[in-house]
């Protein structure tokens, strides 16, 4: 079983549209949406949820103002500026700044601070017309998106090994921070979707550096290449130096957006289009290489 993650660095380059298109082609695969804080893949997969779970993302910490002696200890120990003084001199914890380290709860001499598990993340095991999908809905403003990515990937792996699936395909998050790192660890191939712009190239370079630090094999798709031919060739040269193969160059085509609007993959929307044929070619190559 091989695991592929689709990433981009920059947001909006077409990760999810490409992942969905691969969904139409992959056959025996398990899918996993690793973009847990703005998950979109389910909008195309329209899955039927079979199992729903909650995932704890740290702690919800409160101060009991009648027990509190206003000794200031919590204020001194908190490194996240999460403890605010109210107009009456009492203290309150700002849940959006609190990282849930529970140090204030431990050091409070009056035992006035209580931490309760924050169970506002949900994740799901679903079935779809393309195969099983593991996806999540993160609690608004939550911590620990990296841990949630790790959790959904773990489940996808269990399903894949239990069903003899040949592939796990992860729709990755933008950026290079904790969730991108969590979506990369231990995979076989990273497929980078690059947009030919200064920002797209800059962001892909940072992502490639991260991927290489994990010693993971990378390949690339240049999406919307017709937006800027000069940048496209600059990106091709850059990738050639790093021996990262370009599997396809996809033109800008409003059909990609129209397909999305109808909740379809580009392959379903128009299998004859240039993009569909090129993505089919990409999948054949990936399946040969990683399969």
């Amino acid at each position: 079983m091989k695991e592929i993650t689709i990433l981009s660095g920059k947001g909006g380059t077409g990760k999810t549209s490409v992942t969905a298109a691969l969904g139409s082609l992959a056959g025996n695969a398990v899918f996993c949406d690793n973009d847990v804080d703005a998950a979109d893949l389910h909008l195309i997969f329209q899955p039927e949820i079979n199992e729903a779970y909650t995932f704890s993302s740290g702690w919800n910490v409160t101060i009991n103002t009648t027990k509190c002696t206003r000794c200031n200890s919590c204020l001194d120990y908190c490194r996240f500026d999460a403890i605010r003084t109210m107009s009456d001199g009492g203290f309150v914890i700002d849940p959006l700044k609190c990282e849930g380290c529970r140090l204030c709860e431990r050091i409070c001499p009056a035992n006035a601070i209580l931490a309760e598990e924050n169970k506002n993340n949900h994740w799901f095991v679903s079935s779809s017309r393309f195969g099983p999908l593991v996806h999540a809905k993160m609690g608004i403003g939550s911590e620990n998106s990296g841990k949630l990515v790790t959790r959904v990937r773990q489940k996808a792996k269990e399903i894949a090994s239990g069903s003899d699936s040949r592939f796990i395909i992860n729709d990755g998050p933008p950026g290079i921070g904790c969730s991108a790192i969590a979506s990369l660890s231990g995979i076989n191939t990273a497929l980078i979707v690059i947009e030919p712009s200064k920002s797209g190239l800059h962001d892909a370079q940072r992502l490639i550096e991260l991927i290489q630090s994990f010693k993971i094999e990378a390949c690339a798709i240049i999406n919307k290449y017709t937006i800027n031919d000069a940048f496209t060739s600059q990106i091709e040269k850059y990738l050639e130096i790093l021996s990262i193969p370009v599997l396809a160059k996809l033109p800008f085509d409003k059909e990609m957006v129209l397909a999305m609007t109808e909740g379809k993959t580009i392959i379903e929307y128009n299998p004859e289009s240039e993009i569909s044929q090129k993505i089919t070619h990409v999948w054949e190559g990936l399946a040969r290489k990683t399969g």
Partner: protein
């Protein structure tokens, strides 16, 4: 005190950076106003790309405190392991092994409080850097840049904000994509939030997540529709039925996308797009004068 405007989106690639740098440009064109732009998308900062002639003012490294365990003093009692909420410490008593995993550690200081043997001290670890540019006399541009491989993006944003000149008239925060902790860190102290969306299925879905977050945070906000003309009507129906304020619409143009690709959007702004930004600038000026 500066009037602080955050530019956010949920979905990546909707045009946060485009709107941020244009707004920055047009606000600064108003005589005498001092404007700062903070690039809080520290995983993939792009704002500086659009100001290639800006003079470099300074570059500083950002550090965090990383605990180090002295195994000569350590009694391997595992109290630090119990205190650590992030599973960042591994202690194996029979092997006399005690280590902090930097990629999981949040630098909260709990382990230091836990240790009765004073075996844990802290050393500085680089997590990123901050670069200040001056595109024009009345403009500050400060970029946060996460070190590749680090997952301390929220702390980099925190440090970036501390460096903002407090006496500027307006400070803009260009937010990262998503809805999790780095986004919350970026917008929590903003006076106003501009949500940039696009009229597509994914754009609308992620906009709703952001609206939910901002309502929970009790923030005032308005919406900019970018790439108008792509996609369908459902975004407009949603905005209307929820009576959300639309600050402006920026039409989709492949030619403009090509200019963006070259990093050249501020020199050749089509009149239609100029008009859109002028009305957003006026709306922001009105908000500022009311504050």
């Amino acid at each position: 005190m500066s009037f602080r405007i955050a530019i956010a989106s949920g979905k990546g690639g909707t045009g946060k950076t485009t709107v941020s740098v244009n707004l920055y440009h047009f606000l600064a064109a108003n005589d005498g106003l001092r404007i700062s732009l903070l690039d809080c998308d520290v995983e993939e900062p792009n704002d500086a790309i659009f100001f290639p002639d800006a003079s470099l003012v300074k570059e500083v490294e950002i550090f965090r405190d990383l605990p180090v365990i002295d195994t000569d003093k350590c009694t391997f009692c595992r109290r630090c392991v119990e205190y650590c909420e992030f599973n960042a410490i591994v202690v194996i008593p029979p092997a006399n092994y005690a280590e902090v995993n930097a990629s999981l550690c949040h630098s909260c200081g709990a382990c230091i409080v836990a240790c009765n043997e004073s075996a844990i001290t802290e050393r500085k670890e680089t997590i990123g850097k901050m670069t200040s540019f001056r595109p024009e006399r009345n403009m500050n541009l400060i970029e946060g840049r996460l070190k590749i491989g680090s997952s301390m993006q929220t702390m980099v944003i925190k440090e970036l904000k501390k460096s903002a000149p407090a006496d500027d008239d307006i400070t803009l925060f260009d937010a990262p994509p998503g809805t999790s902790c780095p986004v919350v860190e970026t917008i929590h102290d903003a006076d106003y939030v501009i949500l940039v969306t696009e009229p597509t299925l994914f754009g609308l879905h992620d906009l709703k997540l952001m609206v939910e977050l901002l309502e929970e945070m009790d923030k005032e906000f308005g919406v900019v529709i970018n790439k108008a003309g792509l996609g369908d009507q459902s975004l407009y129906d949603y905005l209307q039925s929820n009576q959300l304020e639309v600050l402006g619409e920026i039409p989709f143009s492949q030619e403009y996308a090509g200019l963006y690709a070259k990093g050249d959007i501020l020199n050749k702004i089509p009149q239609e797009i100029k008009n859109s930004y002028q009305s957003i600038v006026e709306a922001m000026e009105l908000r500022r004068s009311k504050k």
